[in-house]
């Protein structure tokens, strides 16, 4: 593991890729590794790109990569696509739109399946960002799965969230709803050459206008990712949001929330691991028979399993 980490920190792509796999597979050694590299992190801009399926997230990501590369910044991308709820398999195809950057040593692209996560990201996303940050990537872009209204986990990881909208999504009430519309720090109204774009932009601006005196008003940009139109302005807003976070109490609050979430995540991971282990050891045919015949019940069994981990635990 140490040798692998040394090579990864030295920029070896295969080693970085391997460590990300260890993270994704929840290898028990990963925590030690992450603990070691954590002090090296905090330098990267972490950008989340989210939006509905087919909104143009991957194409937009491709153009944003290009923009940062023209400034010689190293870019890491984590592109998440859904895993099958049936087989657990996945078709990871976001990188098709970014393949022209393959071969550029300043760009690392990694595809991930959600593997059961429901918030628009995958289990290993957050920790992979830590690794890429430590390995010296200046900008880390996370492309979420195509989301609906409430997959908002990206705010727990990204400094700046860019929401990609397209014309023809519904009326202004959709835009007023809670959830995904609230998490954007920057809006990209993409496919701006399609009819209806002005209406979407107007409705978003109107919605934003309903709240007065906010420290950061999310800018709304019209983009055509396909030909790069509007990308420079979009990236400018993304960068200024980063500056805003550094100089504003809001930014500190956000970082505070993010760190608290990080601790929660790690705790939950460990507790889940312990619970799974304890339950697997407890799950005999006899216990299952008792449950099937209703001589026992799932609550009592769960309580017994819990008390094996933390003696004396009783469910209230």
């Amino acid at each position: 593991m140490d040798a692998l980490l040394e090579k990864a920190l030295g920029g070896d792509i295969r080693s970085i890729a391997r460590i990300i796999s260890l993270i994704e597979n929840d290898n028990p050694e990963k925590d030690v590794l992450l603990k070691r590299i954590y002090p090296m992190t905090g330098n990267a801009i972490v950008l989340g790109i989210t939006g509905s399926p087919g909104a143009g997230k991957s194409t937009l990501t491709d153009k944003v990569i290009e923009h940062f590369r023209s400034q010689e910044k190293k870019v890491g991308v984590i592109a998440v696509d859904p895993s099958s709820p049936f087989s657990g398999g996945a078709i990871l195809a976001d990188r098709i739109r970014m393949q022209r950057h393959t071969g550029d040593p300043g760009v690392y692209i990694r595809s991930m399946g959600t593997r059961g996560s429901l918030g628009g990201l995958s289990r290993g996303t957050r920790e992979s960002v830590i690794l890429l940050d430590a390995c010296g990537y200046d900008v880390i872009i996370i492309e979420t799965v195509g989301v609906g209204q409430s997959e908002v986990d990206i705010i727990k990881i990204a400094d700046t969230v860019c929401l990609v909208l397209v014309p023809g999504m519904g009326d202004d009430i959709q835009i007023m709803k809670a959830g995904i519309m609230e998490i954007a720090n920057v809006f990209a109204i993409n496919k701006a050459d399609k009819p209806g774009v002005d209406r979407v932009a107007a409705e978003v601006r109107l919605m934003l206008d309903l709240v007065k005196e906010r420290p950061w008003v999310p800018p709304v940009h019209l983009t055509i990712a396909e030909n790069g139109s509007g990308i420079d302005e979009l990236v400018e807003s993304i960068v200024s949001h980063g500056v805003f976070l550094k100089n504003n109490p809001d930014g500190v609050r956000r970082e505070w929330r993010r760190l608290a979430f990080e601790v929660e995540e790690i705790l939950l991971q460990h507790i889940t691991r312990m619970a799974e282990k304890s339950w697997n050891a407890y799950k005999t045919d006899e216990v299952m028979e008792q449950l099937l015949s209703r001589k026992s019940n799932p609550y009592t069994v769960a309580e017994d399993v819990l008390s094996k981990i933390i003696p004396g635990t009783r469910m209230v």
């Binding site: 890729a17 796999s21 028990p28 087989s87 398999g89 996945a90 393949q99 393959t102 990694r110 595809s111």
Partner: protein, 137 residues
């Protein structure tokens, strides 16, 4: 819990633009629980090898219908070896004459599946090949 998914890159090198076969195979591998990274059309060997490394794939499946199979298989296998990644499984299919297959296997391809092969055969072969590869790690 520490579950290692099989990751496979499905790639279309060269200029032929027909990817129905590649999509059928990708879909079958997906339904077998694998994570399939699809590169899209018209990839260079350099792009394919780089994708395989970045994605930490266990295997790369190459689909070729253009007749340039010997060139692309050999090139990709050699490039992987140069990058110290010769352990990654290379397999493929497409329109490849039977008489060319022995040379591809000789060059280091794990298997070459011709038209009409059942996807089950391909999936089972790959599962076994990956298990063997991992046992050596």
């Amino acid at each position: 819990m520490d579950e290692r998914k099989i990751r496979v890159v499905v790639a279309k090198p060269g200029l032929d633009g027909h990817d129905r076969g590649a999509k059928v195979v990708a879909r079958a591998l997906r339904d077998a629980g694998m994570e399939v990274i699809y590169t899209g059309l018209r990839q260079t060997p350099e792009q394919i090898v780089e994708t395989v490394l970045q994605e930490d794939a266990d295997a790369v499946g190459i689909s070729i219908l253009s007749g340039a199979h010997t060139f692309y298989f050999t090139k990709i296998i050699n490039m992987l070896r140069e990058k110290d990644a010769g352990d990654i499984i290379v397999f493929g299919g497409g329109v490849i004459p039977d008489s060319d297959i022995p040379a591809l296997l000789e060059a280091g391809a794990g298997a070459v599946f011709g038209p009409g092969t059942s996807t089950t055969v391909c999936v089972e072969w790959l599962e076994e090949a990956v298990a063997k590869k991992r046992a050596k790690e």
